[in-house]
């Protein structure tokens, strides 16, 4: 293996009552890699992300990030270590302006603002902060809308904003939960081009339904089904795996065309 493992799980499980959403998942990803996770709805992909990012504690198993055990760490701690995510349903602050959303993401790990006095009493719209956000605004194509309320944005624009916020947090590993869901063809290509440009800079894990769009981007593909990872490997190989085809397309009569 060329580079070191940055994020890994061992025997990670989560049950809700009788229902086991994630079962004994061993997963690992190396620095700089980009990986995809696919699987039918309800396979436990989002729950897996929620466990990784500390939305709730796992029932069993452990999570290591950059060599240290983060299984019991609070979500905000994980973010500060560089484990950042987006949400399946876009989650941005609708009551704030677009700019303020970005300001909030730009500030926490920027050495200029970590001083409490600056965080609490310095203006949120100082030039230093604004210049930090400016690049993100342009990248997300939202420079015209910086003073708009976020609730007025379209779904696709909110998705761009969410990704821009995630990037401002200086992630080492970025977890994208169905970043293309609910977007129009036009918006999908925007998001894909951003994701493509990120492959060089950081480690990516992407949950996605649109498998065809993922193939070109990820180097490795894992398939989840009923809480477990049932196949893993190069995208083309995984998609031709008979078990995967059966699970994913129900009855599997189509031959693999690759």
């Amino acid at each position: 293996m060329a580079s070191s493992v940055i994020l890994e799980t061992k025997g990670l499980s989560k049950s809700f009552g009788d229902f086991t959403a994630v079962e004994m998942v061993d997963y690992s990803i190396c620095e700089g890699e980009s990986a995809g996770i696919i699987g039918p709805n309800g396979a436990g992909k989002s729950t897996f992300f929620n466990l990784l990012t500390g939305m709730f504690p796992p029932s069993k198993g452990m999570i290591r990030f950059m060599g240290s055990d983060i299984t019991d760490q609070a979500s905000f701690k994980r973010v500060s270590l560089g484990l950042v995510r987006t949400f399946q349903l876009v989650s941005v602050f609708n009551s704030l302006t677009v700019l303020d959303n970005l300001v909030l993401a730009a500030v926490p790990f920027n050495s200029q603002f970590t001083r409490m006095s600056r965080f609490m009493l310095g203006s949120a719209h100082r030039d230093e902060v604004l210049s930090l956000c400016e690049e993100s605004l342009i990248r997300a194509g939202l420079e015209q809308k910086r003073w708009s309320l976020t609730s007025e944005l379209s779904y696709g624009e909110k998705r761009m904003l969410e990704i821009a916020m995630a990037l401002l947090l200086n992630p080492k590993v970025l977890l994208l939960d169905e970043p293309l869901a609910g977007l129009s063809e036009f918006e999908i290509s925007d998001v894909l081009s951003i994701i493509n440009s990120l492959r060089e800079q950081l480690t990516l894990v992407i949950i996605e339904h649109k498998i065809s769009r993922l193939v070109g981007i990820v180097e490795r593909l894992s398939v989840m089904h009923q809480g477990q990872i049932i196949a893993e490997g190069l995208p083309d190989q995984v998609l031709c795996d008979p078990t995967v085809r059966r699970v994913y397309w129900g009855a599997d009569d189509q031959a693999c065309e690759t």
């Binding site: 609070a74 989650s91 009551s95 704030l96 993401a105 609490m120």
Partner: protein
């Protein structure tokens, strides 16, 4: 650059507020205006946790009362220096906020409202009965401030000027606070706290900080009212009086600093002048609250800004 525009505008705001309160002084007498000012400070402190952080408390009188009693006790037992006594009030309130904050700030909604109310009830009991040998129980206690150098704090005009100055400081401080990243964070805690944590913020700490600041300012209002009245009674910590500050906050428009001031003035105007004409004061308050909740949620400030589009226009009257 828009940011420069707003800062210059905000600098004028302090001047506007000062002028408004001086005019108010001529209108309703300066002694009354001192009352108004102190209440406005209290509303500002309340609005920080209700309007900004989105937590409705029914127990904020506890901190006003703690500040008031601490100031009075300090004045009687330690030093009659008014500045030190008020400082003691602020510190005691903020300390109490720091002790109770970790318990209350992890609840929301109805629980937050009622746990605060329960603590307020405990405080009321302690003042009224528990520590009545110190606090004078139902009769309350007096505090006599000494002079501060040449300044005589028994002069009502001096108290007025002093309170106005303090209020301008508070407004300046809270405005810095609410227009900082911290202020934005408070708004996000109101909207979706768990999402803020995924931006790397330890919201537990920041909620606590906001709570402590708010309780400290409430204590300041308590201390200033001792300066104004020179006595304190259990009504300063009576939990049933919380409705006043909730009312003021709503009528001004929750979640806006200027709204809090407008609400404070409006409430004081109503409560100072209407009881002469309205016998059933509680009923009136209740009906007004219902009207606010059903039809007038944006409050005075919300409507002013909607129609004028200019923040910082004439306050009150």
């Amino acid at each position: 650059m828009k940011s420069i525009n707003t800062t210059t505008l905000k600098k004028f705001d302090l001047l506007f507020i000062a002028i408004a309160f001086v005019m108010l002084g001529y209108l309703v007498t300066f002694q009354r205006t001192t009352d108004f000012i102190i209440f406005c400070i209290f509303v500002v402190s309340y609005d920080l946790i209700y309007g900004y952080m989105g937590r409705l408390s029914f127990g904020h009188m506890l901190y006003l009362g703690t500040g008031a009693y601490a100031t009075a006790l300090f004045c009687d037992h330690v030093s009659s220096n008014p500045l030190l006594a008020i400082l003691a009030g602020v510190v005691c309130s903020a300390l109490l906020g720091a002790v109770l904050g970790p318990i209350v700030t992890r609840t929301t909604g109805a629980c937050f409202a009622l746990i605060n109310l329960a603590f307020n009830q405990v405080g009321y009991f302690l003042v009224l009965i528990g520590f009545s040998s110190y606090t004078g129980g139902e009769d309350g206690m007096s505090a006599f401030f000494g002079n501060l150098g040449p300044i005589n704090f028994n002069n009502k005009m001096t108290v007025y000027v002093f309170c106005l100055t303090i209020m301008l400081f508070v407004v300046y401080f809270v405005r810095r606070l609410t227009s900082s990243p911290f202020g934005i964070l408070l708004l996000t805690i109101k909207e979706n706290e768990s999402r803020s944590q995924f931006l790397g913020y330890n919201t537990v700490i920041y909620k606590l900080i906001a709570f402590i600041i708010s309780t400290g300012i409430a204590g300041l209002a308590g201390g200033l009212s001792i300066l104004n009245y020179t006595y304190v009674t259990p009504s300063f910590i009576d939990p049933t009086r919380n409705v006043e500050v909730i009312f003021a906050s709503l009528i001004g428009g929750a979640g806006s600093l200027y709204g809090a001031l407008a609400g404070g003035i409006t409430y004081m105007m109503i409560s100072n002048y209407l009881p002469n004409y309205i016998q059933r004061w509680e009923m009136f308050l209740g009906i007004m609250l219902l009207i606010l909740v059903f039809w007038f949620r944006a409050g005075v400030w919300g409507y002013l800004t909607r129609f004028s589009g200019k923040p910082g226009k004439e306050m009150g009257s």
